[in-house]
């Protein structure tokens, strides 16, 4: 049962991601991204990360994607123009990505035994567990993230405002 759900949502996630790339209209891409985010949250749930799954839905699928869609509509962004493909992307990029994929897949397949097995949904990471890691062991990274966000906001301001 769990495996079936996993496969279903994993495929949905991949499909959404591909669709995101292939769509030429930004609004379609944005909507595909929502599919990706939501199916990811299901995968989190399967791994027992209930808090993360909910946060994923609320923050990403909810807040961020709504913002995305608003922006696209406000800007009235039109269809993407196709540009010339690049030879390097075809001759180096695609084989490169395939090779990367092969290396990773090979690694995981080779190591599947030493990883050991576990049952999906067999364990639960409670909010308490999570906060112990987040607010104790990783307190400093968590706090420093605020600087990261500050930088991002600053950057957005600089990029968005016009010179006068």
């Amino acid at each position: 049962m769990n495996v079936a759900i996993f496969i279903l949502f994993a495929l949905l996630c991949l499909g959404g991601a591909l669709n995101l790339l292939l769509q030429r209209h930004p609004i379609n891409s944005a909507l595909s991204l929502i599919v990706v985010m939501s199916s990811l949250s299901v995968l989190y749930l399967l791994l027992g990360a209930e808090f993360l799954a909910l946060a994923q839905i609320i923050v990403y699928s909810g807040a961020i994607m709504v913002l995305f869609v608003f922006v696209i509509m406000l800007l009235n962004a039109g269809e993407e123009e196709r540009t010339h493909g690049s030879r390097a992307a075809y001759f180096a990029g695609i084989p490169g990505v395939l090779a990367l994929f092969a290396v990773l897949a090979g690694t995981f397949v080779t190591l599947r035994l030493s990883f050991g097995g576990t049952r999906l949904g067999a364990f639960l990471v409670t909010t308490g567990d999570l906060s112990r890691v987040l607010f104790r062991n990783l307190l400093l990274p968590f706090e420093v993230t605020s600087v990261l966000i500050l930088v991002a906001i600053l950057g957005a301001v600089v990029l968005a405002r016009k010179e006068h």
Partner: protein, 654 residues
């Protein structure tokens, strides 16, 4: 305890001169610039004389002076900022500061009308600073500092006339070729660190001496790498190509840097590292062969040159070859002896040539000279002393040193061929020097009187140079005559003072000099001296025949020896060969593989072709929308895959 000699002051004098002229020179009056430029080298010279006096009073040599201990220390290695004074250093110091001072004096007259007077003198003082550092250094690292420093200043001074394209190119060429030599020097240093954990001359050589079983092997490698460095700096085969071009610099620079001091640094280094070379017969043999080959090769080219400074440049290369030959047969004292006499007569040759060029308003082509004997009497007579000296005529300086080298070569078993090459070269030297002498000072004037003259006074005919230039000529003229007497060999009734003086430095390496010579040896030496004297005279006679008595003979000889003449005239196409074999492939690689390949071709080849025709304004847009980012991402992905695959492959093959 030895009282301090204040060695650290020695290089600081010219450095101060450099700083003052370099920073304030632009605003100072010319007289002040000259005063600064002369005062500081003079102070250094006086200090050297003081040190000589101290040494005469029985100062214990070698003497070591440390300033920063350790200067730098890395795990497994440390180096001190320290100076070493021994007999070898002392001789070099005298040459560098003495000849340096004289040439500075000459420059005051020669450069008087040039732009950037202050710049010239600040560079010259900077050169002395680095040269003194090189000579005084007590370890390879500090020596290398000076070594690179003189190269840098030489680059600056070659390109001094920066309005001339050829000058800039010559400077660059000198610098790049020297980088190849430095590559050898640096590698040698790294190997020394790896094997001895130190770069100090004393410690390295003591270590080698303490292990008699150390022969060849990595010592040969170090010696050969050092030799590569030396061939770069001293313009020997295969790295000699930069020196003739370096003549683009002002003539005093050619005299100081490219004749008397800097180019002899390679010889000095070989002598300094004699303990090392002593353990590698192979390296020594190569030194000797390179020396003899360069001496001969450069001399043949010198025979046909028509630019007066280029003749001197090739003769410098050739004479440096003699010094290498001396080192190669372990006659280091003789090599240093020739270095000293050569500094005198070659500096004089350049300065006298400069005086001629000055008189003719910048003309350097000997075909447009002639008959200057009467117009430039002082220049003529001093030049004559120098020509006699370099040709090896008794009792001029060059005779003693060159003869000593040839004798030492002859007496080294198995080196008779090198001796023969050296002898033939001596004949060639005599020939082309007298050729220069005749073409410049004899015959009918071939110059254009109206265009001659110099400086801001406007054209006013051929004139003798001012005394600021002539005094140095006279001083060096006397030294060219008498400077060789310090090495008057025992075989001719002298004391061979220089060899005895330098003996403490070289005893460990050259046992040959310790053997008490027998009467038979004396006879042999006398015969050899006679032979080289005859050869020199023959060269003179031939030059006299071809360039004074029967000038048409030179032309007909040229016609008859066409196959021989062409390669020599083209300097054996060595420059062209280097260009084709080394320079062009690198540039092509850069341009095609990286330039066209990665940067444009594969990335956005289609776009370039398309937008090349479009207006320039579109270039920004083109790049925004072109596949650039995509291709870069493609490259990144490919690179990432390659890194992972290589990592997996290599980590498992271990």
């Amino acid at each position: 305890m030895t009282p301090s000699l204040y060695l650290w002051l020695l290089p600081l004098f010219p450095l101060a001169g450099f700083a003052i002229n370099g920073i304030l020179g632009r605003r100072l009056p010319k007289a002040a610039v000259s005063a600064v430029a002369l005062l500081f080298p003079a102070a250094a010279f006086v200090q050297v004389l003081w040190i000589v006096a101290r040494a005469h009073q029985g100062l214990a040599l070698p003497y070591l002076e440390r300033f920063a201990t350790p200067w730098i220390a890395v795990t497994g290695f440390h180096a001190n900022f320290s100076f070493l004074l021994d007999q070898l250093t002392l001789v070099m110091l005298l040459v560098v500061t003495g000849v340096g001072l004289v040439i500075h004096l000459y420059s005051v007259g020669y450069m008087a009308a040039e732009d950037g007077y202050w710049r010239f003198f600040s560079y010259m003082n900077l050169f002395l600073f680095f040269m003194l550092t090189l000579v005084l250094a007590a370890n390879f690292l500090l020596m290398f500092v000076g070594w690179e420093g003189v190269g840098l200043v030489s680059y600056l001074l070659i390109g001094f006339y920066y309005t001339k394209d050829s000058a800039a190119n010559a400077g660059k060429k000198a610098f790049i070729v020297n980088r190849i030599g430095d590559f050898g020097f640096l590698l040698a240093m790294f190997l020394l660190i790896a094997h001895f954990g130190t770069l100090s001359f004393r410690e390295v050589f003591a270590n080698i001496s303490a292990h008699p079983d150390l022969q060849g092997g990595f010592l040969t490698a170090i010696a050969l790498l050092l030799l590569l460095g030396a061939t770069g700096k001293s313009a020997q085969i295969p790295l000699y190509v930069w020196l003739p071009d370096a003549m683009e610099g002002p003539t005093p620079v050619s005299a100081l840097i490219h004749a008397a001091t800097m180019v002899t640094a390679g010889v000095y280094m070989l002598a300094r590292a004699h303990v090392l070379f002593g353990r590698s017969p192979l390296a020594l043999a190569i030194v000797a062969i390179i020396g003899a080959a360069t001496a001969f090769f450069a001399a043949t080219i010198g025979v046909l040159q028509t630019d007066i400074k280029r003749v001197l440049a090739y003769s410098t290369i050739s004479q440096l070859g003699y010094m290498f030959l001396a080192c190669g047969v372990a006659a280091y004292s003789m090599g240093i002896f020739h270095l000293v006499t050569h500094a005198f007569f070659k500096a004089l040759l350049f300065l006298a040539a400069g005086s001629v060029i000055h008189a003719l308003g910048g003309e350097q082509d000997m075909r447009k000279m002639g008959g200057l004997r009467k117009k430039l009497p002082v220049t003529f007579w001093t030049m004559t002393a120098a020509v006699f000296a370099i040709s090896g005529l008794f009792p001029f300086a060059g005779f003693f040193s060159k003869d000593a080298i040839l004798a030492a070569t002859f007496e080294t078993p198995g080196e008779k061929i090198l001796w023969a090459v050296g002898l033939v070269t001596a004949g060639l030297t005599s020939f082309y020097m007298f050729r220069l002498w005749y073409m410049t000072f004899f015959g009918s004037p071939r110059y254009d009187e109206s265009s001659a003259g110099h400086g801001e006074h406007g054209p006013h005919g051929v004139h003798e140079s001012p005394w600021a230039m002539l005094l140095p000529l006279v001083i060096l003229g006397i030294l060219s005559l008498a400077g060789g007497w310090i090495g008057w060999p025992a075989a001719l009734g002298g004391h061979d003072w220089i060899a005895h003086f330098l003996d403490p430095v070289f005893t460990s390496a050259s046992n040959a000099q310790l053997v008490v010579p027998s009467a038979a040896d004396f006879r042999l030496e006398r015969i050899l001296a006679g032979v080289s004297m005859l050869v020199a005279l023959f060269g003179w006679w031939l030059a006299d025949l071809m360039y004074r008595r029967k000038p048409q003979l030179a032309d007909s000889a040229e016609q008859k020896t066409r196959p021989l003449y062409t390669p020599i005239w083209n300097k054996y196409w060595v420059d062209e060969m280097y260009g084709a074999v080394i320079v062009r492939p690198i540039l092509a690689l850069s341009r095609n593989l990286l330039g066209r390949g990665v940067e444009t071709g594969i990335i956005d080849g289609a776009n370039t072709a398309m937008t090349a025709t479009a207006s320039g304004a579109s270039s920004g847009i083109r790049r925004m929308q072109s596949g650039n980012i995509r291709s870069y991402a493609g490259w990144l992905a490919a690179g990432a895959a390659a890194v992972l695959i290589v990592a997996l492959y290599l980590s498992h093959s271990f």
